[in-house]
């Protein structure tokens, strides 16, 4: 991975920089020792590691503003960081850059039931938002699989989704307002607890900007009343084509499932072997369809989905009868990544989105690539919104397999783009897919995006080396590689 060359002059001034930052953030808010900094040397994309110049953990908006103003004055690069769970290297440090950790902004400021929103520091975890309001019957809808660890600030940076985003939208659709500090230290407020922008929708642009435009210091999101009922269906199909047809018919019928997940045969077998959820082993594709809402509605829609499934040739249709059974249906899907980690020494997780209807041909294309590269692949799929996670299986210790897995992965993403899809559905570009951006965007497209970046950060000091290809594009591309099932956050489910 080619990152911008470290500036020796900055490295030489490290002691002064550390001292200056300690004046801005006193106490133990500046970490300059190797042992302390090693926690920050990578994020969820563990293939790439880099010790930062220094880590600073501010506690107040004024400190964030002062740190950024200081860094601007000194020409220092800054890498903002939430919980560091990014799967695309969005928080990968720079040798000559300051890591700005937002973990101390971990307080919930206001719960406003009258306006159905919650205001919190960016360091509050996604799940903590729901925990704070569930006693009153509310929840925060976007639920990325890392929700016990990932923070709402990081969710804003990545526009995180989750299984429920099919019905309830991504972060961008649930975010009402934020406070943000620009690289020059200016504090701005975007939105509030009302809907829509009075001027340009900068809130929408900042969401998913991967920490390149500003540092979020406060977030207001809407909360929703918890649906009274939820049931899931487990549906098996003899072919992936039939499963894809079923997904399309469910959506076209007007049903918006709370979640709709698909697994292919290798993923089903791996999950069943791993945690025995009772999945059928004689099917080519398995769908899990969850419906939520008022009891009467859920029961009615379960019946409708059963009918659609049967009509599209399902060989197995089971509807959950109670909460325990619903959770059991999900258990295998939620364990799919670690399960795949058991059947191969290493796997490499991709994240592309395709138009739903192109799934059969994309699966066929992946199967052909699998033969071409001589590597197996298991597929899990957020079927309702077309977000595909192929897991390429390989052995890093076998000569040439790593390179083959990477080439295979790049070809999968190119295939996604070729059928009208995109390079990343939810993991972000980060450093991982940075050099594939020209597959989707022309030089002009990228130039406009870079000018937008400059509007927020004219000196290009905030999170450089991410999202946009470096001038001299590098053939080597980063990936989510997992060896021996050892992910950076083994306790986090990933799906």
């Amino acid at each position: 991975m080619l990152m911008p060359d470290p500036d020796q002059k900055i490295l030489d001034r490290r002691a002064d920089i550390v001292e200056a930052l300690r004046r801005i953030v006193p106490g133990n808010g500046v970490i300059a020792e190797r042992a302390g900094m090693s926690v920050y040397e990578c994020d969820g994309l563990t293939a790439y590691r880099q010790m930062p110049l220094v880590v600073v953990l501010p506690e107040t908006v004024e400190q964030v503003s002062d740190v950024l103003r200081y860094c601007t004055a000194e020409g220092l690069k800054v890498v903002p960081r939430g919980a560091g769970t990014s799967l695309s290297g969005g928080a990968l440090p720079l040798a000559d850059g300051v890591v700005l950790g937002m973990s101390r902004f971990d307080r919930i400021h206001n719960i406003d039931y009258a306006n159905r929103c919650i205001t919190a520091g960016p360091g509050v975890t996604n799940l903590a938002l729901t925990k704070a309001v569930e006693g009153a019957g509310f929840y925060y809808a976007p639920d990325p699989s890392s929700q016990i660890a990932c923070t709402i600030g990081g969710n804003v940076a990545e526009n995180s989704g989750g299984v429920h985003c099919l019905k309830y939208g991504l972060t961008t659709n649930n975010l009402l307002g934020l406070q943000m500090v620009l690289m020059d230290g200016t504090v701005v407020r975007l939105g509030g607890s009302h809907l829509d922008a009075g001027g340009y929708d900068l809130l929408g642009v900042v969401t998913g900007s991967e920490g390149l435009l500003g540092v979020v210091t406060e977030v207001t999101v809407r909360i929703l009343p918890r649906p009274p009922a939820a049931r899931a269906l487990l549906i098996g199909f003899p072919t992936a084509v039939a499963a894809g047809t079923c997904v399309g018919r469910i959506m076209a019928s007007g049903i918006v499932p709370a979640g709709m997940e698909m697994m292919d045969r290798p993923a089903i077998h791996a999950a069943e072997a791993f945690c025995h959820p009772g999945y059928p082993l004689d099917v080519e594709a398995l769908l899990i369809v969850e419906l939520d809402g008022p009891v009467e509605e859920v029961d009615e829609l379960v019946g409708r989905v059963e009918a659609i499934a049967t009509a599209t040739g399902a060989s197995l249709v089971r509807a959950s009868r109670d909460e325990a059974e619903r959770m059991a249906f999900w258990a295998g899907r939620k364990a799919a990544f670690p399960a795949v980690g058991r059947i191969a020494p290493d796997y490499y997780c991709m994240d592309g989105t395709i138009p739903r209807g192109r799934l059969p041909e994309v699966l066929e294309g992946i199967a052909e690539l699998s033969k071409k590269y001589g590597l197996a692949c298991a597929n899990v799929f957020h079927a309702g919104d077309g977000n595909l996670h192929p897991l390429v299986l390989y052995d890093a210790n076998a000569l040439g397999q790593l390179e083959r897995a990477e080439a295979f992965g790049s070809d999968i993403l190119r295939l996604c783009v070729a059928v009208g899809g995109v390079l990343t559905g939810e993991h972000g570009v980060g450093v991982e897919k940075r050099d594939l951006m020209p597959e989707m965007f022309s030089d002009v497209d990228l130039g406009i995006q870079l000018r937008l970046k400059s509007a927020f950060d004219p000196l290009g000091l905030l999170n450089p080396g991410k999202v946009f290809p470096l001038l001299h594009a590098c053939a080597e591309m980063g990936r989510v590689h997992v060896h021996g099932g050892a992910t950076r956050f083994p306790e986090l489910p990933r799906f």
Binding site: G198, L202, G293, P294, H382
Partner: protein
């Protein structure tokens, strides 16, 4: 110099026009259906670019629920096409043309999205911004570009679609837009409650919004609005017959239920809520206020006390106020009106107030779009520069001098 009319035949001609305008310091307005020319500050451009050549549906795939259409495609055409497949645009795009007394059914997709319009379903389904998946366009500098894609889940690069929605033509010209469509609900039912006043009506709406019954419309009409003697509070539910019946049974107990309207029966009322017609038809200057729902009643009361003759209705559970005020002489009187309206929003939780209909003189005097604080204004100006460095597109439409 008089405005000259241009109708570029294709993207290349449009790009040439804008490139030349950039190079020669000319300005341009961009027109789709021409229904919203009186929105924002008055602009007298050198060029008036009509997008007639960019009309037409490129593709509509009901199974994928994706529509691709030229910017000048009329909304009426799109809605008819989607209806054939029993689908719709979820954000309930309103037809604002009637607000100015212009003919209905001429509004275009590009204009609707550029103004980020939405109707009552905004609270459940989002605004135009939430349904624009991608676009092809030309910047003010004449660069042909694309943004987004054709899929809902996409975090590849900055979300420029959000920026286009609500840019009122000041950043770039969209030539082709990709929108997500959704199936039409099988049935809709609107519960009409009698409410004593704004505060109790909005309280009822808050209870409905806090219930898990997923209302798709929450409006309150004070007494006297729409020719009705009593204040009415409206709760709309949409879905399958079984689901709607269950939810009607649950929410019908929230207050004094005086009427139940079916989908077609209530449709004109919800359409009028989308355009502000319930207060706009009485004349006067028209404002649209967005604020936290719980601040709605208080803000409206404060405005009523400050501006005699003001009329209002609430949508979005109280978070949207359509406000008509007697037209005052441009100058001190209108500036003071605007100040008291914006102060009421500021005093009740913050948000923004947009002057959507007034004479050109008033729109030139009063900032029609909510003034930004210094830091935000600077940032917005730099964003404008990034897309339109020579300030060709709709100069001053949103903010004086930008």
């Amino acid at each position: 110099m008089a405005t000259t009319l241009h109708t570029p035949a294709n993207v290349a001609e449009l790009a040439d026009l804008l490139r030349q305008a950039s190079a020669t310091g000319q300005t341009a307005s961009v027109t789709g259906g021409g229904t919203k020319a009186a929105l924002g500050r008055p602009v007298v451009p050198d060029l008036d670019i009509h997008l007639d050549a960019f009309a037409g549906v490129v593709s509509f795939e009901p199974e994928e629920m994706v529509l691709v259409a030229g910017a000048a495609t009329r909304m009426a055409r799109i809605e008819a096409l989607l209806a054939e497949a029993n689908q719709m645009l979820a954000f309930e795009p309103p037809d604002w043309a009637t607000m100015w007394g212009a003919p209905a059914r001429r509004a275009t997709l590009g204009g609707t999205v550029a103004c980020n319009l939405s109707g009552s379903r905004r609270i459940k389904a989002g605004a135009a911004r939430d349904h624009l998946l991608g676009l092809d366009g030309v910047t003010g500098a004449g660069e042909v570009f694309k943004a987004g894609g054709r899929v809902v889940k996409n975090v590849t690069g900055y979300d420029l679609c959000k920026l286009f929605a609500g840019s009122f033509g000041t950043l770039a010209v969209a030539t082709r837009l990709v929108l997500r469509t959704v199936p039409r609900p099988e049935v809709a039912e609107t519960l009409v409650f009698a409410s004593a006043d704004d505060a109790s009506g909005i309280d009822l709406l808050g209870q409905a919004a806090a219930s898990p019954m997923e209302p798709s419309g929450l409006a309150h009409l004070p007494a006297g609005i729409g020719g009705m003697r009593l204040a009415r509070t409206l709760v709309r539910l949409e879905g399958t017959p079984v689901s709607v019946a269950a939810r009607v049974a649950s929410l019908g107990r929230l207050g004094k239920l005086i009427q139940r309207l079916d989908g077609p029966g209530a449709a004109p009322l919800w359409a009028d809520l989308g355009t502000g017609a319930l207060v706009a038809e009485g004349g006067g200057d028209l404002w649209r206020l967005s604020l936290p729902p719980s601040g709605g009643a208080g803000a409206a009361a404060q405005i009523a006390a400050a501006i005699p003759g003001a009329r209002h209705v609430f949508d979005w559970a109280g978070g949207l106020i359509w406000l008509a005020v007697p037209a005052a002489a441009p100058g001190y009187a209108t500036v003071m009106q605007a100040a008291s309206i914006r102060a009421a929003v500021g005093d009740h939780g913050g948000g923004h107030a947009t002057l959507v209909r007034a004479s050109a003189e008033v729109r030139g005097t009063v900032a029609p779009f909510a003034p930004e604080d210094a830091g935000l204004a600077l940032l917005a100006a730099r964003v404008k520069q990034a897309f339109d460095p020579s300030a060709v597109l709709e100069p001053g439409r949103m903010v004086a001098g930008r």
